[in-house]
Subunit: 358 residues, 4 copies
C-alpha cells in the first residue's frame, strides 16, 4: 500500500505527469504550530532547478493545504497536502509508451499491473518524494517540539568522500553549498565530479549520512519494528537507494566483540552515556540517548542522455536515449528526502512510545 | 508490535528464560501440505550445539503445533507453534539483575518499559528468532509450491571473504560444512578464525549473502513497501544486524549510470532478461524475474567472556564478565534466520500481489 | 485513524467548512474501467438540494480526480479524489465558537483534542461522507465486474414503515421517489411526515434497509473480521447511526432454534441454497451465497431550528438555536452512503478472499 | 485475520477440537499487576458446566501463561496465553465429516477454504471466545487502573425481558444468579424458560445489555473508528450475535430531534453532564463522560438436539441430529464474553487517545 507509519501515518498519491502529487498525514497530535510556510520551506529544499548541479527543470512546487490546519495549528484531523504538477502540456510520449527503459520500473509495473501510466515514471518517479518531504516537514515540527533534530548530508559522490566522521563536522554548514556537504573542500570536489559527469551525459551515485540528535532513550519497538529496521525500510523505500547501514555498519563486521562493545559510563551530569558509539545510538532496536547515525547508498540514476539498447513490450530490441532535463546526481536533492523519512520514522516512534508504560 | 507481514503475518511471543518461544502464523492459504516435521527440520538448522563453532548449549528445540494444521495440511486458520525452553532451573541472575551489559538491550529496555525480565535477554535475546525460523518454514513451503527458493550462506567472517560472487558458487554446498559457506577452502579459513576467536574469549562478525531464485516478475509493492525495503527491514530486525544492501549495494555508488544500468533483452525462450543484474532482481521495488540477491552485515555479538567495565541501574561503575556458553560467531546459525525472514517477506508479497489486477 | 479497509483501503480528509473533502483509495486492482463520471454520478445521489425533503443548500459537489486513473482505467496506484467546498465566504461563527451544541461532537472534540475547527462540524460533519460516496463508486464498479450489487432503501421514517420485507419489493423503484423508498404508498406517507417535521422546525429519524445480491459463497473472514461485523462497523461509522442488525436481527431473539435454523437444500440447478434466510446470507461471518440484508437505525439529526439550552466551553448555561439550512430527515440522503459503505466492505472482502486458498 | 485492536491488540488461535485455544496480547503497557489468577478468574465465569442452565460439559479451562508476565507484572512484551482442550479422545466424527449443519459455518468454511477441521466448529466454535475472555481480563486490569469498569447482564431471554433500564438496577447483583440478570424476579422467569427450552431439545436467544462507567470524555476516534463502531464490530464478532445498538438505538428512530437531543449542563461539582443520555455516552464517536450503554442481540444457537434436514458436501439431502452436550441458551455465558470485548475496545481506545494531543 501507499502508506507509511503506524500512529503518525502518511499516505501518498499522484503521478509524475498527472495532476499532481499529494499526501495525507493522519495521527499528528493536535496543537502543533504548522502553517503552509512550514511545509513550503521544506519543499523548496527539494525543488529541482536550485543550482547547476541539479536538473534545470524549474518547478515551483507550491503546496496547497487541503485540510487539518486551523488558526495556525494542527487540529488532530488528517492534514491533506497537494502539489500540482506544472507544465502538463500534452507532450509526445510515443517513444516510451512501449519501451522498457533500462533499470527503470516500466517492465516491472507492466508485469505487476498489466498496464502503467507511460507518460513518465508515474508512481515510480522520484517526484513522489515531494509528498514525503511535505509530510516530513510536519513530522520535523513535532520532533522539534521535543528537542529532536535530524540532519543529513552528502558524504560521498562517486569515489569522492568526506574524510572525517560526522562528529568532526559542523552540520550547520550543510546548506552552505549546493552539494549539501558540510566539508567545504570535499564539496567542491564533489561538485566538480558532478559537472564532469553531467557533461559526459552520464550520472553518478553516492552516499548520504544521516544524524539525529536529541533522541531520548526509549524510542523504538523491540523485535520487528526496531528503530533501525524502520529507518532502514524508510531509506530503502527512497528511489535509487541500494543499501543502508547504521552505527558501525558493514565495517563493524571487521571488528571483534571486545573492540565493538560500547562501554557505559555516567557523565558528570549523571546521564548515562557510552564511551564509543558503534551502536549508532540504538541497542536492541531502542534508542539509548546517544547520537543516531546511519548511511544510505544511492545508485547512479538510471536516466542517462545516451543511447541504450533495450526492448519494447513486444520483446523486440530497440535503442533508446533519455530526453529532457534530468539530475546527473541525485545526492544533493536526496538530503531533504532522507531528512523527511528520518523525521517520519521518529515521529511515529515517539507516539508509539507513549503506550510503553502505564 | 511483535507482528511482521501484512497478509502472511506472524506474531512472536516468549522470552529467552521464560516458558518458551511461540509464534502464530495468520493468513497462510488453506491446502498447503505442512507437518510438524516440516517445521522441526528448519528449527534443527538453527539449534545451538550443532558443531564446535557454535555454543555448546544443547537445546532440543522441539516444536509443538498448537493449531492450524489438520490432516497434514493448512486449514487457513492461524497456525500456532510453541517451543518450550529447556533447563529452566532456577539460576542465579543476581549478577546481572541490576547491571547494564555493554551493547546489550538492558539499558534501553529499562528506559522504555521501566522494568525488564533480567534473567537473560528476554525478548531481546536471539532466542526469539527460533519462532521466526519455525514460521519461515511454513512460508518456505508456500513459496516452494510456486517454484521460489531462498538460499543464504556465510560470505564473510571477520576479514575472511568468499572471493567470488554467488553466481559462481554451488549453493548446494551450503550445508556441506558447519560454517554454511559453499566455498570449501574459505569455509575452512572461516572456521579457523572462529576457533581462534573463541579461544581468545572474543566474538567475531561477518556477512550473510542471500539469494532468491524463481521469483516471477511482479512481486513487491511500489513506493513504501518495495520488495527490497521490506527485505531490508526484515534483515535489520534480526539481532546483531548492522547493515543491508541489495544488488550492487554500497559498491554501486562507485559506478556511473552508463555502467550500472541493466540492459533488457529477450532470451531464446522469449523470456525478458537483463544482461547484468546490478538491480539485484528488483526494479522500482518490484521483482523483475532475475535472481534477487542481497548482503546482511552482522556485528560481533556483545556477549564476550572477558571482564568489561559498565554501570548498574544506579549509574555506578561495575565490572562484568560474560558467563555461560555463547556463540563466538553467530554467522553459521544466522543463515537459517536470514532464510526464514526472506521466506516470510516473499510469502507476504506473493499473497499481496494477488490483488494487483482484476 | 481516518482509514477504512484492509486491502481496498480508503483514507478520507477534509472539513465541512475548510477547503474541501477528499479521499484516497488504495489497493484497487488495475484495469477497472472508472472515470470521473462514474464517481460524479454517485455523488449526485448524495448531493444536498435534490428535493423539498432535504436541505435546500445547493452544492455542486464536483469531484476532481487527482490521481490513479489513466486512459479510463484504474492503474493500481492510489486514486486521489477531491471535492471543493462551495461558498467558503467568511461567515460569522461567533455564536458557536464557544458553544457546545446538544448531541453534536463539539464537546467531545474539545475533550479529545483540546481544540476544534468551530466553523461547523469539521470532521464530525456528515459532509465527510461525500468522500465515502466517491470512494464507494469505485468499489461498486469492482463489485459490478464480479456480478455483485448492493441496493439500499428507506424502510422506515419515524413510525411510518414499509409493511413488507425486501423480497416483496421491486428495488428498481428506489429512485422513483425522493424518499428513496421502493414502496410508493409508504413513500408518500414518509414524505408527508418529513414535510410536517420540517415545518415544525424539528427532525425525524428512521431506518435504511440494505440488500446485497450476487455475493458468492466464501467472502468474509472468520473470528473478528466477520463479514457482518465489518458491515456493522461500516454502518455504525456513519453519522447519526445508532444501531445495526442483519438477517433476523433483534427480532431473531424471539425465535427458538428450531424455528430460526435455515435448512440447506440443493436447487434444480445444483446450487446450494437455504429454505429460509434468517442468517441474512452470512454464516460464521462468511457469505453463503444467499441475499445479504441488514437494517441501519438513524437517529433524528441533532441540528433543529429551535432554541435549546446548553452550555459554553466555560460551563455557563446558554441558549442556542440552529441556523441555516439543514435536513429535517437524513434518510433519503443516507441511502447512497449506506450503499457506499456496503460496497467498500464487500470490495475489501473480495480482495481478501483471494488469499484463502493456494 | 485473527487479530483485534490497534494498540492493545490480540491475536487468537486454536480450534474447538484441536490441542487448545490461545491468544497473544500485544501492546499492553508495562507495569500492570497481572497474574495467572487474574485471568483464571475471568475464564471461570465463562466455563461450561457452571449451572443447570448451561451445557453439562465440564471443562477445567486452565490458562497457562506462556510469556509476558514477570514478577507479577506485565513487562510490555507480548503476553501469550494457552488453554488446553480437555477430552481430546478420538471421537467418531464421521456423521458430520461431510454434513453441512443448518445455520453453522460448515458450508461457508468449505466454500472459503476448500476444507475444514470437521471435528467440530473448529475456529467457528464459540470455544474460541475463551481466548477473548482471557485477553479481556488483562484489558480489564488496565481499565481498572484508570477507574473504568464494564458490566454487562442478560436483559432478555426469548420474550422475557427486564422491565426497567440499567439505571434502575443494582449491577452488583449480576452474579447473584446463574442467568446473570440483576433483576431477580426476571432472572427466575428466564431460568424457567431456559429449562423448558432445554427439555424440548430446543434453544432460545436473547439480549445482553452492556454498561461502562468511569470512561473519561475524549476516548474514541472520529470518522471510521468511532467508539461505538468499534464496540459494534466487537460485539458482532461474537458467535450468534445478530444486532447491536447503543444509546437510544432502534427505538431512537421513533423520536423527534427535539425529544432526542441531550441537553448539556454543569453539575454542582463543575463537571459537564447531559440531562438525558440518548447518546449512550458517545457523541461523534467520542466518549462524553456519561455512562456508555448498548444492547447485543443473540440468536438461538444452531445446535439443537432434534433431527433436521440438510445436505452433505455432495449436495445430497440428509437428516442430522445434534449430539452431545450443548447450551440451550448462550446468554448467561455470553455475559463475560461481552465484558471481554468491551474491555478490549476500551483498552485500545485508551492507548490510542494518548496521541490526540502534544
Amino acid at each position: 500500500m501507499n502508506s507509511f507509519g503506524t500512529l503518525f501515518r502518511i499516505t501518498t498519491f499522484g503521478e509524475s505527469h498527472g495532476v499532481g502529487i499529494g499526501v495525507t498525514i493522519d495521527g499528528c497530535p493536535a496543537g502543533l504550530p504548522v502553517t503552509a510556510e512550514t511545509i513550503q520551506t521544506a519543499l523548496d529544499r527539494r525543488r529541482p532547478g536550485q543550482s547547476d548541479l541539479t536538473t534545470p527543470r524549474r518547478e515551483a512546487d507550491r503546496v496547497e493545504v487541503l485540510s487539518g490546519l486551523f488558526e495556525g495549528q494542527t487540529t488532530g484531523t488528517p492534514i491533506g497536502l497537494f502539489i500540482r504538477n506544472q507544465d502538463q502540456a500534452s507532450h509526445d510520449y510515443s517513444h516510451i509508451e512501449h519501451a522498457y527503459r533500462p533499470s527503470h520500473a516500466d517492465y516491472t509495473y507492466d508485469a505487476k499491473y498489466g498496464r502503467r501510466d507511460y507518460r513518465g515514471g508515474g508512481r515510480s518517479s522520484a517526484r513522489e518524494t515531494a509528498a514525503r518531504v511535505a509530510a516530513g516537514a510536519v513530522a520535523a515540527e513535532l520532533l522539534a517540539h521535543y528537542g529532536i533534530k535530524a540532519s543529513s548530508y552528502v558524504s560521498q559522490v562517486g569515489a569522492v568522500r568526506v574524510p572525517v566522521g560526522y562528529e568532526e563536522l559542523d552540520l550547520g554548514l550543510i546548506e552552505s553549498n549546493t552539494v549539501r556537504c558540510p566539508h567545504p573542500e570535499t564539496a567542491e570536489r564533489m561538485a566538480e565530479l558532478i559537472r564532469q559527469t553531467r557533461d559526459r551525459h552520464d550520472t553518478v551515485g553516492g552516499i548520504v549520512t544521516g544524524v539525529v540528535r536529541g533522541v531520548p532513550a526509549g524510542l523504538g519497538e523491540p523485535v520487528f519494528d526496531k528503530l533501525h529496521a524502520d529507518l532502514g525500510k524508510a531509506m530503502l523505500s527512497i528511489n535509487a537507494v541500494k543499501g543502508f547501514e547504521y552505527g558501525s555498519g558493514f565495517d563493524g563486521t571487521l571488528l571483534f566483540g571486545s573492540e565493538h562493545n560500547d562501554a557505559f559510563y555516567t557523565d558528570e551530569s549523571g546521564a548515562v552515556r557510552t564511551r564509543t558509539n558503534h551502536s549508532g545510538g540504538i541497542q536492541g532496536g531502542i534508542s539509548n540517548g546517544q547520537d543516531i547515525y546511519f548511511r544510505v547508498a544511492f545508485k547512479p540514476v538510471a536516466t542517462i542522455l545516451q543511447p541504450q539498447t533495450t526492448i519494447n513490450d513486444q520483446g523486440e530490441e530497440i535503442t533508446l536515449a533519455g530526453k529532457g532535463r534530468h539530475d546527473p546526481c541525485v545526492l544533493p536533492r536526496a538530503v531533504p528526502i532522507v531528512d523527511a523519512m528520518t523525521n517520519l520514522v521518529l515521529a511515529d516512534m515517539l507516539l508509539r512510545s507513549r503506550s510503553s508504560k502505564l
